[in-house]
Symmetry: C2
Subunit: 133 residues, 2 copies
Amino acid sequence: MERVQTLLRNHDIRPSYTRMAIYRYLDENRNHPTVEAIHEALSASLPTLSKTTVYNTLHLFIRHHLVKEIDLQDHKRYDIVQEPHAHFKCDVCDTLYDIDIVPPNAPTHDDIVDVRDVQLVYHGTCKRCQQAV
Amino acid sequence: MERVQTLLRNHDIRPSYTRMAIYRYLDENRNHPTVEAIHEALSASLPTLSKTTVYNTLHLFIRHHLVKEIDLQDHKRYDIVQEPHAHFKCDVCDTLYDIDIVPPNAPTHDDIVDVRDVQLVYHGTCKRCQQAV
DNA sequence: TATATATTTGTAATGATTACATTTTTATGG
DNA sequence: CCATAAAAATGTAATCATTACAAATATATA
């Protein structure tokens, strides 16, 4: 049985063809794609794929802790869950780079009881865009 | 001369009445308001204030490093620039708490040249919402 | 005071995301 | 194998924050 199929099953997700395709895309393209990008890329092999399905599936994956949403200024990006790490967003070309740094744990704080997630995002200009000037 | 007026001048911003009002609001209400909240609060004293002006002014403040934008799932929040710190967002009541922790510096990385900003945001449930269950 | 410039406003467009009802697919019991 | 119920996928329409833009207003300066 295929690895992705097993993986979805292990997370209580029925491995439909569409779901496997979306998961596989995220797994093979670790460039933090937008919904738009996922939809466009998969439309070639799944011509009837709707954006609503992409949204539905991503939200399903998020609820089952397979995927994380990254909130940026404009579109949301989606990232396969992996080791805790940070991101660097180039505000010129909009590329999102993985940064190999573990976000610090939340300190104890009067108002905080239950921390489920951390997002650590750096903003600036990447090398390529800097050189392009 | 009023403090806010001087402060805006020092940042090369002409201190119009509206701009001072918006700055003062952010300074006195450090609860990371949305554009909506700012507009609604100031409409009482500035009945003709338009949302466009709130947007324009915030973006002006951001360009001049007086204000930072915080990107969350839904609306953007605005925060007066102060000591580097983190945020905790309660995903139940949407409150954004200040967290007194300095985000780590970006590590040296092949793709990164110029880092201008960091956002460190924790997500979870706050004490009040936890108890409300 | 006249005129150029800066600021503010209001309306219309944009565009991502969600709501929702319908259609299609899949699983299961007889 | 068929009938039927449940799940998944689809398409369209609505929502709503944000932006674009042109017109109106206020401000500064000569």
